[in-house]
């Protein structure tokens, strides 16, 4: 089974040289720490940064330089800063090659819900709806089940949607899966996790074809 760091490391394996990548809040943010040495990617932050770097050294924080999670960050050489309309032009205009974000629920047709629990939690969608509406390559990073142990991979979402038929890949603590033809297709098992455990934790339609390899995580 993977912890949050493990999920981030596995997602980092999906990165390709020359990509611009938008990382959401939470587990996705950790992906930036595990970019393979032999490739170059630039991180886009929806609040107006391209070429976002790591956290600043202690004492060098700048209140004017934060990421979408309001954390202090730095700029890499070659970075640029811009306004919110330009930022979302990059996102909706499909100039960003990969979006990684968290979710409360994902449906077998690629629907995603991650912004609202009616009557309980209403934080807002932020940039998530713009991101999922346009990106061609969307990876969801999340735990396979919620705190009550219920599956987050469902036949259909019960919570208000963030976007429809948009998620292409999911990396959880248990598995790597692809969404196509209205089903979750099992690609890899997390270390030490059996296909049976993944089946038991997946409420939506799960397709298991042939031998499912175990992930290789450094």
């Amino acid at each position: 089974m993977l912890d949050k760091t493990g999920i981030a490391k596995r997602i980092a394996q999906e990165l390709q040289d020359g990509w611009y990548v938008n990382l959401g809040i939470g587990i996705p943010t950790l992906v930036a720490n595990y970019v393979p040495d032999n490739i170059t990617v630039e991180f886009q932050s929806e609040n107006g940064i391209l070429g976002m770097g790591p956290f600043p050294y202690d004492g060098e924080e700048d209140a004017d330089l934060i990421n979408a999670g309001k954390q202090t960050v730095t700029l890499q050489p070659g970075a640029s800063v811009f306004d919110s309309a330009t930022s979302f032009a990059m996102i909706r205009g499909n100039h960003v090659q990969l979006t990684v974000l968290g979710a409360m629920e994902v449906a077998q047709n690629g629907d995603i819900a991650n912004w609202k629990i009616p009557g309980k939690m209403v934080k807002g969608m932020g940039g998530a709806m713009d991101l999922v509406a346009s990106a061609e390559n969307i990876i969801v990073a999340m735990m396979h089940t919620n705190k009550k142990g219920e599956s987050k991979l469902l036949p259909s979402c019960s919570l208000p949607l963030t976007g429809v038929k948009c998620v292409t890949r999911i990396i959880t603590n248990l598995a790597a899966l692809e969404i196509k033809d209205g089903a979750f297709h099992l690609l890899e098992r997390a270390p030490g996790v059996s296909v049976e455990e993944i089946k038991a934790a997946t409420a939506g339609k799960l397709v298991v074809e042939g031998d499912i390899p175990e992930m290789i995580i450094d």
Binding site: D64, Q71, A85, S87, G126, D130
Partner: protein
């Protein structure tokens, strides 16, 4: 000589802001917010405001200060997760809230300032956000019609500005400020450093002075950091 937009301070700048008005306020989280004007409006005690702002501050800073005093009737935002008082007022029904996708919010402000009454966007299709909105297919993909936003006053914060109202923003503090500056019937700019006309290089102006009606040099910027994240040397 350029047209002079300078006012003395936040008190002069906010003159004419009245109960029930619609305001735009720049900033992302607490980054790039007009601290001076927000404090001034707390003092003025204007009420029944509709505030268009990406976020709603935190409990004791930014727009949270206006929320604490129940001066805001309605918020139009994309993300309000850092503010407990906001969530309480919203869930209890005291506060009207219109949550809209962040990119749509930015573009609706830009459109309002640019004379574009509405536009189609893919963001929000198939969600609650699309309810009651026209849907049309372009290139085989569904889009929803979003309308422009304008405001009685737009209140923005810049790093540097000149007497002509030209503005330069710093790093990620730019965010919504340039679009909102365009969309205000009256736009107030508070800046950290106000310089004479001619001092700013025209090639590096982010917001041209035509969009700004009043400008002043702010005082005592706190520039609070919401999430101080650092790494250690070595």
């Amino acid at each position: 000589m350029a047209i002079n937009k300078v006012v003395a301070n936040a008190t002069e700048a906010t003159e004419g802001i009245k109960d029930g008005m619609t305001l735009m306020l720049g900033g992302f989280g607490l980054c790039g917010i007009p601290e001076n004007c927000i404090s001034e409006m707390v003092k003025m005690n204007v009420k029944g405001l509709t505030c268009i702002s990406n976020n709603a501050g935190v409990d004791d800073f930014g727009l949270g200060l206006l929320l604490q005093k129940k001066q805001i009737k309605k918020m139009i935002s994309s993300y309000v997760g850092e503010n407990d008082e906001f969530e309480r007022q919203m869930l209890s029904g005291e506060l009207e809230v219109d949550l809209i996708p962040q990119g749509s919010l930015a573009e609706r402000c830009r459109a309002g300032g640019a004379g574009i009454p509405a536009f189609f966007t893919p963001a929000g299709y198939g969600t609650e956000v699309a309810e009651g909105k026209e849907v049309r297919d372009f290139n085989g993909k569904p889009h929803i019609l979003e309308s422009a936003l304008t405001a009685d006053f737009a209140i923005v914060k810049a790093w540097k500005g000149d007497t002509a109202g030209n503005l330069v923003f710093k790093a990620a503090a730019r965010n919504f400020n340039p679009m909102m500056a365009m969309a205000g019937k009256i736009t107030i700019a508070e800046v950290e450093e106000l310089v004479p006309e001619g001092d700013l290089d025209p090639n590096f102006i982010h917001t041209p002075g035509i969009f700004v009606q009043r400008i002043f040099q702010g005082v005592d910027y706190e520039k609070r950091i919401e999430q101080r994240t650092v790494r250690q040397k070595g």
